[in-house]
C-alpha cells in the first residue's frame, strides 16, 4: 500500500487551501458559476438533481481500514448515512452542502484521500485490477504503475482543460478484470525477451458511441511510459474536437483521424517529451514499488475452510461465488457483495463500511479494494479465517453470495440522483434482483453480467453487459433498450440491440424471458449465457423477447 510522503500530504493540504478560497470566492461573487464550475469539477464537486454531489477518488480501488472508516464517517456526518461506490472505483456522497465541502476534503486529507480530478475534462482516477497483488495470473502488481500515473497526472499543468475527460486503466495479466479496453488509454504490463514494458491501447470508451480500444503500441519500454502518455495527451489536447461534446473523447479523435495518423503524431511528439525525463520518474517508481511489497503471508492450515464448506450449505454457496483463488496457498480473495437482492447496487452504509474495515484489519492484512463492479474485496484472507469473515458479514446484510451471477448488477445512479439521466436505473436493478431471488434460479443460471445505464452516457457499462439495459426517455416515458452479447473481459465486445425498447413495467419480465430462453438453449450447465449467445446469435433471444410478448397480447 502506498502512503503519502510529505510532498503528497502538503500538496493535498495546499490544494484544499485553494479550494476553500475558491468556495469563498464563489459565495462572495468574485467567481461566476461558469468560472467556478471547472474549478469545483477539478475537485470532484458536481451539481446534481437535488444537491451537490462530492465524488471522492479511490485510486486504483485501494483502501485500508483507516480510509474506509473515514469514508463511513463522511457518510454519516455529511450525507444520509450512505456512500455510493461507482464503476470508476470512486465513492459518491449525494447530499453535501457547499459550505461543508472544504471540511469534508480536510477530513479526507487526514487519511490521504482527496477528490481531485474525479470530474472535469482532465485525467481521471486511474483504475486497475481489483485483485492486484493477489491474482494468480498477474506478472506483477500493476498498482505501482497506477500510482506513478496518479502522481504524474495530478495537477498536470497541460492537461486540466482537455477537450473531454480522460480515463486510464492499468492491468498486468491476460485476464482483464478492469475493462481496460473501454478506457481512453489502456495499459497492459507485458514481458518481451525478459524485459517488462507496456502494450498501449487507445480510444476505447462507452457513451453514445461505444468503441473497443485499438492497439497503439505493441511494446513500450518501461521508462518511456510517462513521456509517451504526454505525447498522447498533447496530441489529443491539440486535435481533439471541442465543437461538440459528444465528439470530444479521444475515441472519436482516433476514429476520425485514423489510428495510423494518431500514431504518427504521437511518435513525432514523443522524442521531445522523452528528452526531459532523466530517470527521476523511474527512481520514484522503484520507491513506490517497494511500498507495494506483498504482506507477510502466514502459513495457515486451510482445513477449517473446507470443514465449513462441508458443514454449511449457505457458506458453501457463498464461497463458490465470492471466494477466488489467491496466488498464495492457504489464502483466498473474498469479494463482498454490495448487491443484496433489492438493495441499491454499490451503496454501503457507514456501519457496513466500518465492519468491512474491521474485517480487513483483523483478517485481511489491512488491505481492502473497491471494484468497478461496485463491490468490495478483501484480497488477502487466510482460508481458515473466511468462515469467521462470512459470519460477520451476515450480521449486516453483506453476505450475499452472488458475485458474477445475474443479480450482481452494475447500475449507475440514474434518475434517482443524476442530473443527466433519462430514466431510472436503480429500481430496475432492484426489480431484476428481487425477481431472481423469488425464482431462485441464479445459481443454476451461473455467470451472467447485467449492466444498466440511466442515459446514453453509459456509466453503468451497459454496452459491455452480457445483457445491457439502457434507459431512455421517449416522449416523457421511460423506455428501456436491451443489448446482448457485450463482453467486459479481455475479449471485449460491444453488445447489439435486440430491437424496440420496453416500458418500465415490462423490462423485468423481458430480462426474465431472456434468462429462460438461455436455459432452454444451453447445451449443458457449463455453457454460459454469453457463450450461448455467441453460438446461436440474436434470433432465438429476439423471439423470446418479442414473440412471447406478442403471444401475451394475443392471449389477452
Amino acid at each position: 500500500m502506498y502512503y503519502y510522503n510529505d510532498f503528497d500530504a502538503s500538496f493535498v493540504a495546499e490544494r484544499n487551501r485553494q479550494f476553500r478560497a475558491q468556495v469563498e470566492r464563489r459565495i462572495d461573487g468574485s467567481l461566476t458559476e461558469d468560472e467556478f464550475k471547472p474549478l469545483r469539477l477539478m475537485n470532484g464537486l458536481y451539481l446534481q438533481l437535488h444537491a451537490y454531489m462530492l465524488r471522492v477518488a479511490i485510486p486504483y480501488g485501494s483502501l485500508d481500514p483507516a480510509k474506509l472508516r473515514q469514508l463511513a464517517y463522511l457518510a454519516e456526518r455529511f450525507d444520509k448515512g450512505y456512500g455510493h461506490f461507482t464503476t470508476r472505483t470512486n465513492i459518491q456522497y449525494n447530499w453535501p452542502q457547499l459550505r461543508d465541502v472544504p471540511e469534508m476534503l480536510d477530513a479526507l486529507a487526514e487519511v490521504e484521500m482527496h477528490a481531485i480530478q474525479t470530474s472535469g475534462n482532465t485525467i481521471r482516477n486511474v483504475t486497475s485490477d481489483h485483485f492486484a497483488g493477489a491474482a494468480a495470473d498477474e506478472i506483477e502488481d500493476p498498482r505501482p504503475v497506477a500510482e506513478l500515473i496518479r502522481q504524474w497526472s495530478t495537477d498536470h499543468p497541460e492537461f486540466q482543460f482537455l477537450p473531454r475527460k480522460f480515463k486510464i486503466a492499468v492491468i498486468a495479466s491476460d485476464t482483464d478484470r478492469a475493462v481496460m479496453k473501454s478506457h481512453d488509454v489502456g495499459l497492459r504490463i507485458v514481458e518481451r525477451d525478459g524485459v517488462r514494458g507496456f502494450e498501449v491501447w487507445i480510444g476505447g470508451g462507452m457513451g453514445r458511441t461505444p468503441m473497443v480500444a485499438k492497439r497503439l503500441r505493441d511494446f513500450l519500454p518501461r521508462a518511456d511510459l510517462l513521456p509517451y502518455l504526454e505525447a498522447i495527451l498533447a496530441t489529443y489536447n491539440r486535435i481533439g474536437r471541442r465543437d461538440n461534446k459528444y465528439k470530444a473523447r479521444i475515441k472519436i479523435t482516433v476514429h476520425e483521424n485514423g489510428l495510423d495518423e494518431i500514431r504518427a503524431q504521437v511518435e513525432d511528439e514523443f522524442p521531445r517529451r522523452r528528452a526531459v525525463f532523466g530517470g527521476e520518474d523511474q527512481a520514484l517508481l522503484a520507491e513506490i514499488t517497494a511500498a507495494f511489497a506483498a504482506p507477510a503471508f502466514k502459513n495457515t492450515d486451510p482445513a477449517p475452510y473446507f470443514a465449513a464448506r462441508d458443514a454449511d450449505p449457505v457458506f458453501r454457496a457463498w464461497s463458490d461465488t465470492n471466494v477466488t483463488a489467491h496466488r498464495t496457498p492457504g489464502y483466498g480473495i473474498v469479494t463482498i457483495s454490495l448487491k443484496a437482492h433489492g438493495a441499491t447496487p454499490g451503496d454501503a452504509s457507514g456501519d457496513q463500511m466500518r465492519l468491512v474495515a474491521d474485517l480487513g484489519e483483523t483478517y485481511g492484512h489491512g488491505d481492502i479494494r473497491a471494484t468497478h463492479a461496485q463491490n468490495l474485496v478483501l484480497p488477502h484472507v487466510p482460508l481458515a479465517d473466511i468462515p469467521a469473515v462470512h459470519a460477520a458479514l451476515k450480521t449486516l446484510g453483506l453476505a450475499t453470495g452472488n458475485i458474477g451471477l445475474a443479480s450482481d448488477i452494475i447500475a449507475c445512479p440514474g434518475m434517482d440522483y443524476c442530473a443527466l439521466a433519462t430514466a431510472r436505473s436503480i429500481p430496475v436493478a432492484q426489480g431484476i434482483a428481487t425477481r431472481l431471488e423469488e425464482l431462485k434460479i441464479e445459481h443454476e443460471v451461473g455467470h451472467l453480467q447485467i449492466k444498466i445505464s440511466g442515459c446514453i452516457n453509459a456509466c453503468g457499462h451497459h454496452h459491455v453487459g452480457h445483457i445491457g439495459i439502457l434507459g431512455l426517455d421517449r416522449a416523457g416515458v421511460e423506455n428501456y433498450q436491451i443489448t446482448l452479447g457485450g463482453d467486459a473481459s479481455e475479449t471485449t465486445a460491444i453488445g447489439s440491440r435486440t430491437g424496440p425498447g420496453f416500458a418500465y413495467d415490462e423490462i423485468v419480465p423481458a430480462v426474465e424471458r431472456l434468462i429462460f430462453a438461455y436455459l432452454d438453449l444451453r447445451e449443458g450447465e457449463e455453457e454460459t449465457f454469453l457463450e450461448v449467445y455467441n453460438r446461436v446469435g440474436m434470433a432465438p433471444f429476439k423471439s423470446a423477447l418479442y414473440d412471447a410478448e406478442a403471444r401475451a397480447y394475443a392471449a389477452e
Binding site: 495537477d155 482543460f161 471541442r242 526531459v276
Partner: protein
C-alpha cells in the same frame, strides 16, 4: 487597456512593439501572435529571431494554449511567452508551469479577479508533481 500579470502581481503593458499574427508574419517578424489552433511543430524553422510569442486563450475551458507553451519550450524557444485572453487566476500556476512567463488579461477580468487572487498562486513552483518526475 490590458493588465499584465506576473509573479509580482499586476503591471501595465511594457511591450510596445507590434505583435503580428502568424499568418501575416514575415521572416523579419520578432513578435508573434498565435491562435489557439496553432500546431507548434509547424513553427520549427521560424522561431530563430523571435523574442515574443503571445498565445490566445479564447475561453478558460480551452486548455490548448498550455500544450502550445509546453511544446514551444520543448522545441527550444527561450523568448518571452505570454498567455492572453480568458485565463483565470486559478490557472495562473498552470500557465507558469507550462512555460508562460506572464498572462495578459482585460481590465474587466482584472476587476473581477483582483491582484491578490493571482498572487495567491504566485507560489506555483511549490507543490509541483512534475518537478519531481523529471530531471
Amino acid at each position: 487597456m490590458t493588465v499584465i500579470v506576473s509573479d509580482t502581481g499586476f503591471a501595465p503593458e511594457d511591450f510596445n512593439a507590434p505583435i503580428t499574427p502568424l499568418a501575416e508574419a514575415e521572416s523579419a517578424t520578432t513578435a508573434l501572435d498565435l491562435a489557439v489552433d496553432t500546431n507548434p511543430a509547424e513553427l520549427g524553422d521560424r522561431l530563430g529571431g523571435v523574442t515574443m510569442i503571445r498565445v490566445d486563450f479564447p475561453s478558460s475551458a480551452d486548455g490548448r494554449g498550455f500544450s502550445i507553451a509546453r511544446q514551444l519550450r520543448l522545441m527550444g524557444y527561450g523568448g518571452r511567452l505570454r498567455a492572453r485572453g480568458h485565463v483565470i487566476a486559478d490557472q495562473y500556476a498552470m500557465a507558469r508551469r507550462s512555460g508562460f512567463d506572464e498572462v495578459e488579461i482585460s481590465e474587466a477580468l482584472a476587476k473581477r479577479q483582483p491582484e491578490e487572487q493571482w498572487i495567491f498562486r504566485a507560489n506555483w513552483q511549490a507543490h509541483d508533481y512534475q518537478a519531481r518526475l523529471r530531471g
